[in-house]
């Protein structure tokens, strides 16, 4: 599978995650979100950028409960809770934000 956008081809796996992390850019993130009827605002980007930094450091995408805990530690309890994160990413904060961030599916989401 692949996404065609502005003359570029982004290879994806069968669930729509980018096959090549280095191909990621903000345009493809916005495109993936619009396909899910989701418009990415600053609060979405805060989570996506956090996940990308986490991946850069640990080479994995964290499971949702790890993400929630880590966001809480960095940005405060009003953001580090499931209700807030699910309001931003109703399909599952870790999975959906990882997908838009060009990362693989989270490790440990059962």
């Amino acid at each position: 599978m692949a996404i065609e956008l502005n003359g570029k081809t982004y290879e994806t796996d069968e669930e729509g995650y980018l096959a090549d992390l280095s191909q990621w850019d903000e345009e493809v993130a916005n495109h993936m979100a619009s396909e899910d009827d989701c418009e990415l605002g600053d609060e979405h980007w805060e989570v996506i950028n956090f996940l990308r930094e986490y991946y850069e450091e640990y080479q994995i995408a964290p499971a949702v409960r790890i993400l929630t805990k880590a966001i809480g530690k960095k940005m405060g309890k009003d953001k580090g809770n499931s209700k807030y994160l699910y309001s931003l990413f109703p399909y599952g904060p870790a999975k959906q934000a990882c997908k838009y961030g060009g990362l693989p599916k989270p490790t440990g989401c059962v």
Binding site: E57, Y58, Q59, I60, P62, A63, I66, K69, G108, V110
Partner: protein, 135 residues
């Protein structure tokens, strides 16, 4: 109430060349979702898995060693390393990554996860487990 079991993941192989180390690490991370009492042991060539300064570019493989640093976030806070295995390979604790966790019960103080222990002590800890997984 479901009972919590003591589980130890025993890592015996070098990190690359086979899939055991990476697959085993993923099993540990995924398995933490079930909130059991989990620890890991590194014996034999398994000690190479948590060595510092790994560079896998020439081997054409992903360097997943930074992922061991995430174990603390996943509440895997006891990583036993067998002293004899280090010595036999000319290694010491300084050759290993300084892996840590934050202790929730102690105001999130950062503490070391790696514990170097002798074979006899490790065998006692093994004997106290409910389940052993070998990778």
């Amino acid at each position: 109430m479901p009972t919590v079991k003591k589980m130890m993941y025993v890592n015996r192989r070098a990190p690359h060349g086979t899939g055991y180390a990476l697959e085993g690490l993923e099993v540990v991370l995924i398995g933490t979702a079930f909130e059991q009492e989990v620890c890991m042991a590194f014996i034999g060539d398994g000690v190479y898995q948590i060595m510092q300064g790994q560079d896998t570019r020439a081997a054409g493989m992903k360097n997943f060693s930074p992922t061991y640093k995430a174990l603390g976030d996943y509440d895997v806070t006891r990583l036993y390393v067998e002293q004899e295995s280090l010595s036999e390979r000319g290694l010491s604790v300084d050759d290993l990554m300084p892996l840590t966790y934050e202790d929730e019960d102690d105001d999130w103080a950062e503490k070391p996860s790696v514990q170097v222990i002798v074979r006899k002590e490790l065998s006692q800890i093994m004997a106290a487990q409910d389940v052993l997984f070998n990778f």
